[in-house]
Symmetry: C2
Subunit: 255 residues, 2 copies
């Protein structure tokens, strides 16, 4: 457990006023990449049921403007898992400090492994290989798994249910989560699939280890192919809903 990350994210007494939040580094960019899937009513969900319905409440023709109410599961589309999702008193989207929502992005490519085995789990060895190629993981970063799953988003192969009644898509191995929690200062992990754990996980081991530590996750992130393994800044534009355990988010990479 890295106390720097934990104290900032998980301490409900963390001062949120003033909201200024120094990142302690100088970042620059010249390109914006949208890592977010379009969120339509029929988008794929973990449990296979629709989690979004737009209810029109005003129309341009009759009222002079368009307006709607959303009925939406807070874990739908490209979305944030907040610590509170798997803990009694962890931070929600409104309590995570802003400096932990604008962070360096490290992308680990496991496309070959996932192509060979849809149950592929990102291992400590994959992290070690990334660090061998690109150096130590940056301070306060997000580590994202690129399994090549993003283009499946429009089809049932995103969930990929098997004849065995289980889902089959890649995720983090719990040993990788523990490695990132114990030896590095990582504030978030992201997956391009429907769950931080692999689809066939019997116990949500990664969720149960990672989120209660005060760190966040992002599920169903899109288009990691378009960003470099190292050097991008990720912005997690998550609505600041009080009491939520997660939220559909707009995720950008500044490259």
């Amino acid at each position: 457990m890295n106390p720097k990350a934990f104290r900032a994210a998980g301490d409900p007494g963390h001062p949120t006023q003033p909201p200024e939040d120094t990142t302690r580094r100088r970042s620059r960019f010249r390109q914006v990449v949208d890592l977010t899937h379009a969120l339509a009513e029929d988008c794929p969900t973990f449990f296979g049921e629709r989690q979004l319905r737009l209810e029109p409440i005003a129309s341009l023709a009759e009222d002079g403007f368009n307006d709607a109410v959303w009925h939406i599961g807070e874990h739908t589309g490209t979305h944030l898992d907040a610590p509170y999702h798997f803990s009694a008193d962890g931070a929600g989207p409104a309590e995570i400090p802003p400096c932990q929502l604008v962070v360096p992005l490290a992308v680990i490519d496991v496309r070959a492994g996932a192509a060979a085995d849809p149950d592929y789990q990102l291992t400590p060895g994959d992290i070690a290989e990334w660090e061998k190629a690109f150096g130590p993981l940056p301070d306060m970063c997000c580590v994202a798994m690129n399994s090549g799953w993003s283009p499946r988003f429009g089809s049932e192969s995103f969930r990929n249910p098997g004849d065995d009644g289980l889902l089959h898509f890649p995720g983090f191995h719990v040993d990788a989560a523990h490695m990132l929690m114990s030896d590095r200062n990582v504030v978030g992990i992201a997956v391009d699939t429907l769950s931080l754990d692999p689809g066939c996980s019997p116990d949500f081991a990664v969720h149960r280890a990672w989120l209660p530590s005060g760190r966040w996750g992002i599920e169903a992130i899109a288009l990691l192919d378009a960003v470099p393994p190292k050097g991008a800044t990720m912005v997690v534009g998550v609505p600041k809903v009080v009491g939520a355990s997660g939220a559909p988010a707009r995720v950008f990479a500044l490259v």
Copy 2:
């Protein structure tokens, strides 16, 4: 009308794949400022009625995790007004190009005027004064009105209803909107009040002029005091909900 801004935001045929979007400038920052109000069920709304309800659907004790469904008006809290809000075929949050959601931020201080008159309207003269002090408005920027209204968010004085049955808070003058549309390349405007128009507006003139032009607005932005008049980059983290006319957003300033 500046065709650069219009074509990119309003053209439904705008290619969204690949999602890479060059901003044509080099930006840098070292601080993150959260310009977003916490969004609770009792937050103030234009019509004075609650627009958010969280419905718990799972709990840690019974299910092993917390989860909820939101029933939420798409124009609640710090939120985006998309062109489609006031037009038949304008862009929604999912169609606005990413490079128009990460833009230079210009903050115009009208606190003195608003303190003297809650019906204050930001005028072309205020814009001219800003440009005299800071130079031409940056290309593809957002122009934000700082009326000093942000600290009122927790109380009824944010809506500020009068004995005349009208709301009394500041907004843009329609002449200012036309000035920004005709002579400059501005993609968005933002207000720290409940409406782009002043509260007592009889006709939503700014909404009707600005949004159908393919440009966006942000309402109830927070804490503009914490960012400089010029030099910050604004990130509009708006959920990518298809068919929406707006959306609760996470808005950051990178300073």
